[in-house]
Symmetry: C2
Subunit: 185 residues, 2 copies
């Protein structure tokens, strides 16, 4: 059975981050479910790019998920932070000890759900909004238990590859890292 | 007047590459026109991600463009190579000494239009299909005159930033490189 990951797409999501996560995880054979927060599945990102989500968030069977991964972008992050469905899913995934990922501004939404790990990273200065010790800027990707965080658009490939290593295999990680030409990860 | 760039989206386009180009150029203040090759503006990429194009290719006023940039993906590249409108636009842009960009497999579509520069790069092994001397794998981005080529998904941010340096300014390049956390470019 292939692993199943939810990537919610909120209006104002950062497009490089969201698409990189979906693209790389799909290449790894993961079943990636994208979901809009409301009935409009055509979701506009922070830079005006419209991506069509496969589902609306209420259609998602949370128990079937192996992971949820949040793309950044400030407006998108605020929407994920304020959305009751997303906050509820984050808490449930954490209780069930499943993987949770967030990049760029999105660790802010994990903090709101009280699921942010002790050690984490995020987009520079977002840690001032998160107001929690344990922030580091010394690594593109930080894993603490089942929580994986990363920094911004240019770290999105390394973040997605790190998720592949956790959810799929070291072999698939190495294969995709080579195929994507991501020697800097 | 902001610069105007065309990014054609053919079915099977590589999503990280296309979205990175559109995202970064939009951040730079460039007017990015995305265009489908036919009447269906919901275009599915190589990994199943559907992006909504702003225009269809026949709606584009070629004379108003400052540059055309082709994302890769093998199926997308073959479609760009076989499409009369795209091939005609590439030839016209080259005659008018405007910038042309292509990443990953897409330099193959430049070769078909006879506009590929003497020095170029592309996705590893695609040079065997292109069958033209001047290929290098020693640089993430190669510029030769007005033709800019790059290698694959993980070089897309550096490619897009290089275009910003050419079309906008060194200052905007530095600003975005910092903002995207792209210290490896």
């Amino acid at each position: 059975m292939s692993k199943k990951i939810l990537v919610p797409l909120a209006t104002g999501f950062e497009e490089i981050e969201a698409v990189t996560i979906i693209d790389v995880l799909t290449r790894a054979g993961v079943n990636v479910l994208t979901a809009s927060l409301d009935d409009n599945k055509n979701v506009k990102g922070a830079n005006g790019i419209v991506v069509v989500a496969n589902y609306t968030i209420t259609q998602i069977d949370v128990d079937s998920l192996d992971m949820i991964v949040l793309p950044g972008g400030w407006d998108g992050t605020h929407a994920l932070t304020d959305d009751e469905n997303i906050q509820s899913i984050l808490k449930k995934m954490n209780e069930d000890q499943k993987h949770i990922g967030a990049i760029c501004a999105a660790p802010f939404a994990l903090k709101q759900a009280d699921v942010l790990s002790s050690n984490y990273t995020c987009y520079p200065s977002v840690e001032e909004q998160i107001k929690q010790d344990g922030y580091t800027d010394q690594s593109k990707v930080v894993q603490d238990g089942k929580i994986i965080t990363s920094r911004g658009p240019a770290t999105a490939i390394c973040f997605a590859l790190h998720i592949v290593k956790n959810l799929v295999s070291e072999q698939k990680y190495q294969e995709l890292k080579g195929g994507l030409l991501a020697d800097f990860c």
